[in-house]
C-alpha cells in the first residue's frame, strides 16, 4: 500500500479502549475500508495482537456515511 494515498480519518482522539480478549491497548494501524468495489487506505485504532479494528461513531456517521452515499450515487 506504500505510495498510495492514506485518507485522513481525522480521528485524533479515540476513547482509551483495550481489546478485551488480548488485553492490549489499541494502536493506530493501516486499515483498508471498502464499499461497492472501491477501497480506501486509512489508519484506524486496532488491537496490535489480533488486529480487531475499532471504527468510532463520529467516523461511521460522518466521513464514512458521506463516502457511502457518494459511491451509491456513482
Amino acid at each position: 500500500m506504500s505510495g498510495n494515498k492514506i485518507y485522513n480519518t481525522e480521528i485524533d482522539s479515540y476513547e482509551a479502549l483495550i481489546c478485551a480478549r488480548c488485553d492490549e491497548a489499541l494502536l493506530i494501524s493501516p486499515v483498508n475500508l471498502s464499499y461497492l468495489g472501491h477501497g480506501f487506505p486509512v489508519e484506524l485504532p486496532c488491537c496490535p495482537k489480533c488486529g480487531m479494528i475499532f471504527i468510532p461513531e463520529e467516523l461511521a456517521v460522518g466521513k464514512i456515511l458521506h463516502v457511502e452515499k457518494s459511491l451509491e450515487d456513482k
Partner: protein, 784 residues
C-alpha cells in the same frame, strides 16, 4: 397508465418525448402562443405586477422591434385568446405596451459590436415588412440595401400616421433601423415581374439574395411557411396561416422576420425548415384551471392608461400555468419543478454511465400513488416513470443499496419462518376462503388480526385458512422484480396447496397485488363484512362521530373498494367528510417505500395531507382502511383510526406507531399465538436476552434503522467469541457484528438479567487490516 413495456423503453427517446408531451407546463401561455412574435406577455406582466416597469419594458423591446409603432397598431391577436376573456375580458396588452413605451421608452442605441458577413442582401420595398427584415439581417451582419419606390420609408404605415400612431413615433422607429449599417435607396423601383428580371437585378447590383417585400407575381407562389420561392435566393411575400386581426402590423413584423430567417439560413447553407414549426400564431396546449378565478372587467376600456390603471390591468392577468399535480403533491413541490422536467431528469440520470446520479434521491422519494395521474388533464402518471426508473436501476445494479435494503429485509422477515404461515385449522372441512391480513396490520395490531380471524372462522362457512405473509408490494415499490416474483411464487404455491381458496385481503394494497398483479381471486374484507354483517359485539365508542375519510392510494380508481368502505362506515354509524377526494386522494407518506429511502420526504407528505384535512375538516378524526395510513397519521400526532378497529374494537389495540423492532416482534408473536391457539402447535421460543436502553436511544434506533435483533446478535456474538473492546474508564464493552451488508456497533455492559445498551451505530463500508500484520503495525507505532 404504464408508458414502458420493459426497462429498456425508459431509455427510448421516442417514448421519452411522448411522455414529456403529456405535461403542458412548458407550453406558451395563450397570449404568447397567439402573438406571432411570441412576446412573453406573461413575463412582462409579471414585472408590471411587481412594479418593475424597467424590466417589463426591456423584455418588451427586446422581443418586439418598432415598439412605438407596434404598441399603437398591433391588432392584439393575444387578446381574444387570453384566458381572462372568459372571466371578464382579455388583458388589454396593447394599452399596457403603450404605457410602457411612454413611461420607459427611449431611443435605443445600436449594438456596439455587430458580426460582419460578406454577403449582401437587397430588400425590395421599404414598408414595415422590408424594414423588419432589414433590421434582423443588419443585426446579423449582412450588408443590407433597401430599395423603396416612393419618396420615404414606412409604406402603408404612413397611411394611418397621426390617425393611429403619431408621425413622430414612426420616424423614431425607422431611425433606429437606419442607425444600423443599412443602405436606403429611395425612388428606385426593383423589377419584380419575372424570375429573369429579378436575377438580372441581383446580378447587376452584386446581391447574393433578395427579399421582395412588395407586390410581385413571384411572391404569389412563395412557400407560406418560409417565403422561399422557386427562384434561387429569392424570398418573397407574406406568410400564410392564422392571421387573427387582418392587416395588423404585428404580422408585417412576422413576415419580415420570417424572410430574414430564411435568407440567413439560405446564405449560411443550413436547413431552411428545421425547427421553425413554432413560428407564427398558434393555439396553446397549456392547461390552466379557471374554476377558481373571479371575474374582473377590463380597466378603463375606453381610454389610455396612467400608471395606476396599468398596474390594475396587469393585476387582472392570472399568470397562466398548469401545475395542477404539483399544487397537490408535496413531493413534486419539493423538487422545485414539474413533471416535464422530472421526466427529463430521470432520463438523464439513467443515461449517466460514469459519475454522480443527481436524481437518485428524487426517483426514490415518489410515493408511487398516482395522484398526479388523477389530477393531470392529460393523465400523466409519474408513478410509471419513477417505478420504471427504479426497475432499471435494480436491473443495472445502479440502485443505491441503502435506499430499500432495510424494507426488503423486513419483507424477507415476513416471508421467513419468523412470520410466514399458511394453513387451515380444519383441513377436512375444506378451505373456501383464505384470510390474508398482510404484514403491517399484523405488525401494528396483531390482536386485531386474531380477533378478525377468530370471528370470520366462526361466521364464514366453507372453511377459512390464514396466510401470514407480505404480499410483495415492498419489492414491487423497490422496483425489485425478482424479489417480487419470489414472494408471489411462494404465496401461489401455498395458496395452491390449500386448494386455491378465495383470498380475503384486509388491506387494499394486498388486494391489488394478489388480485390484479398475481391474478388470484381476491376480495376485500370490507365486502365480506358488508355481506355477513358485523360481529355481534359492536363497540360503540365512536359511533355517530363525524370523521374525515382518507382513501388509500391503492384504492384509486376502484369505486368498488372506495364505495364499499364508505357504505361500511355508514352502516357503522359514521358520517364521513371528504368523500369527493376519492380518486385525487394524496398518499399518506408510506407508499413507494419513502419512509425507508427518504424519511424526511415521507414526513412532509404525511404532514401536508394532514394540513389539507385540517383545513377542510377542523379537528375531526381521520378514518383510514390501510394500517400504514393510520400509523403515518398517528405518528404525526393526528387522531386516526383503521376501519377494522372500529368494527372489532377490543381492549388490546396498540393504537400507536410501533417501532421497527416492535413491528417484527408483533409479527412473530402473532404467528406463535395462532399456532398455539388455532393449530394447537406449541413452538419452542428462544428467550431473547433482555436489553435496557439508555434514555433516547430507542428513538435513535428508529432513525438509524437498527433493530433490537441486530443489537442482540452483536452482543451474543461478542460474548461468545470474546471479540469486543473494553473501556477501562467505565467498564463498557463495544463490539461490532456484520451479518449482511451493514456493520452494527453496540456499546453495552452486562447487568444481572440482561444488558444495558449505551450506544449503537452502523455503517455499510467494510474494514480490514491492510497487509501489515499487527506486529508490524506495532513496530511502526513504536518507531513513531
Amino acid at each position: 397508465m404504464e408508458y414502458y413495456r420493459n426497462t429498456n423503453d425508459i431509455m427510448n427517446q421516442e417514448v421519452l418525448r411522448q411522455v414529456e408531451a403529456l405535461c403542458t407546463q412548458e407550453e406558451l401561455p395563450a397570449c404568447s402562443a397567439a402573438c406571432p412574435l411570441h412576446l412573453d406577455a406573461r413575463g412582462m406582466i409579471a414585472h408590471i405586477q411587481k412594479g418593475d416597469w424597467d424590466a417589463a419594458y426591456k423584455l418588451y423591446s427586446k422581443a418586439i422591434p418598432f415598439v412605438r409603432v407596434i404598441s399603437h397598431t398591433c391588432g392584439e391577436p393575444c387578446r381574444s385568446m387570453c384566458r381572462r376573456e372568459e372571466k371578464g375580458g382579455g388583458i388589454q396588452l396593447q394599452k399596457l405596451e403603450q404605457f410602457l413605451v411612454t413611461r420607459e421608452g427611449k431611443t435605443a442605441k445600436p449594438p456596439l459590436f455587430l458580426p460582419k458577413k460578406s454577403q449582401s442582401v437587397a430588400i425590395a420595398g421599404g414598408g414595415l415588412r422590408g424594414l423588419a427584415a432589414a433590421n434582423d439581417l443588419a443585426r446579423k451582419g449582412y450588408r443590407v440595401t433597401i430599395f423603396e419606390a416612393g419618396k420615404q420609408l414606412g409604406g402603408s404605415l404612413r397611411l394611418f400616421a397621426s390617425e393611429k400612431v403619431p408621425e413622430e413615433a414612426i420616424r423614431l422607429d425607422i431611425d433606429e433601423v437606419l442607425k444600423l449599417p443599412v443602405t436606403v435607396k429611395l425612388g428606385v423601383t426593383v423589377p419584380v415581374g419575372t424570375a429573369e428580371e429579378i436575377e438580372g437585378f441581383m446580378k447587376d447590383g452584386g446581391f447574393d439574395a433578395i427579399y421582395l417585400a412588395c407586390q410581385s407575381p413571384v411572391a404569389a407562389k412563395a412557400d407560406g411557411d418560409t417565403l422561399i420561392t422557386s427562384v434561387t435566393n429569392v424570398v418573397a411575400g407574406r406568410r400564410s396561416g392564422w392571421r387573427e386581426a387582418g392587416d395588423s402590423t404585428i404580422y408585417d413584423l412576422l413576415d419580415g422576420r420570417s424572410a430574414a430567417t430564411t435568407l440567413d439560413r439560405l446564405l449560411q447553407n443550413v436547413s431552411i425548415k428545421a425547427g421553425r414549426e413554432k413560428e407564427g400564431s398558434s393555439k396553446t396546449k397549456l392547461y390552466t384551471k379557471m374554476d377558481d378565478i373571479v371575474s374582473a372587467a377590463p380597466v378603463c376600456p375606453d381610454s389610455t392608461f396612467a400608471e395606476a390603471q396599468a398596474l390594475e390591468e396587469a393585476k387582472r392577468c392570472i399568470q397562466c400555468e398548469c401545475m395542477e399535480c404539483v399544487k397537490k403533491c408535496s413531493f413534486l413541490q419539493r423538487h422545485k419543478a414539474y413533471p416535464r422536467r422530472y421526466v427529463r431528469e430521470v432520463y438523464n440520470n439513467l443515461s449517466i454511465a460514469m459519475g454522480s446520479h443527481p436524481a437518485n434521491k428524487m426517483i426514490n422519494a415518489c410515493a408511487l400513488c398516482s395522484q398526479c395521474e388523477a389530477v393531470c388533464p392529460n393523465g400523466l402518471n409519474m408513478k410509471s416513470i419513477f417505478l420504471a426508473a427504479r426497475r432499471r436501476m435494480v436491473q443495472t445494479g445502479k440502485m443505491p443499496a441503502s435506499a430499500h435494503e432495510f424494507a426488503l429485509l423486513d419483507m424477507q422477515y415476513s416471508m421467513s419462518e419468523e412470520f410466514f404461515l399458511a394453513g387451515t385449522d380444519k383441513p377436512e372441512a375444506g378451505c373456501e376462503y383464505l384470510f390474508f391480513p398482510g404484514c403491517q396490520l399484523s405488525a401494528s395490531e396483531p390482536e386485531l388480526v386474531r380477533d378478525i380471524y377468530n370471528d370470520l372462522r366462526v361466521r364464514l362457512s366453507g372453511g377459512l385458512g390464514i396466510m401470514l405473509s407480505c404480499c410483495g408490494i415492498l419489492a414491487y415499490w423497490a422496483g425489485d422484480t425478482a424479489q417480487l416474483e419470489e414472494v408471489l411464487d411462494k404465496i401461489r404455491r401455498e395458496w395452491h396447496k390449500l386448494g386455491e381458496p378465495r383470498i380475503i385481503a384486509a388491506c387494499p394494497s394486498c388486494l391489488k397485488t394478489l388480485g390484479d398483479l398475481a391474478g388470484m381471486p381476491a376480495i376485500g374484507i370490507w365486502d365480506v363484512l358488508s355481506e355477513i354483517g358485523f360481529p355481534k359485539a359492536l363497540p360503540d365508542a365512536y359511533t355517530g362521530r363525524n370523521m374525515l375519510i382518507h382513501h388509500a392510494c391503492s384504492a384509486r380508481y376502484d369505486d368498488s373498494i372506495q364505495n364499499g368502505i364508505i357504505s361500511l362506515a355508514d352502516s357503522l354509524g359514521y358520517k364521513l367528510d371528504m368523500q369527493e377526494q376519492k380518486n385525487q386522494s394524496p398518499c399518506c407518506g408510506y407508499g413507494g417505500l419513502i419512509p425507508f429511502a427518504d424519511p424526511e420526504a415521507a414526513d412532509n407528505i404525511s404532514a401536508s395531507k394532514i394540513d389539507t384535512m385540517r383545513k377542510s375538516g377542523e379537528e375531526k378524526p381521520i378514518l383510514t382502511y390501510c394500517v400504514n395510513c393510520r400509523d403515518r397519521y398517528i405518528r404525526q400526532g393526528a387522531d386516526a383510526y383503521h376501519l377494522l378497529e372500529l368494527v372489532y374494537g377490543g381492549e388490546n389495540l396498540n393504537r400507536r406507531y410501533p417501532k421497527w423492532s416492535e413491528r417484527q416482534e408483533n409479527r412473530a408473536e402473532l404467528r406463535r399465538a395462532l399456532l398455539r391457539e388455532v393449530f394447537n402447535e406449541d413452538i419452542e421460543v428462544n428467550t431473547d436476552i433482555e436489553l435496557y436502553f439508555k434514555d433516547g436511544l430507542e428513538e435513535k434506533l428508529e432513525t438509524c434503522k437498527i433493530l433490537k435483533s441486530d443489537i442482540r446478535r452483536t452482543i451474543e456474538n461478542a460474548e461468545k467469541t470474546g471479540r469486543k473492546f473494553k473501556s477501562p474508564a467505565n467498564g463498557h464493552f463495544t463490539a461490532s457484528n456484520r451479518p449482511g451488508n451493514v456493520t452494527f456497533w453496540v456499546e453495552y455492559k452486562p447487568g444481572d438479567d440482561g444488558y444495558f445498551v449505551f450506544n449503537v451505530y452502523s455503517h455499510r463500508m467494510s474494514a480490514e487490516m491492510s497487509f501489515k500484520s499487527g506486529t508490524e503495525a506495532q513496530a511502526d507505532n513504536e518507531r513513531k
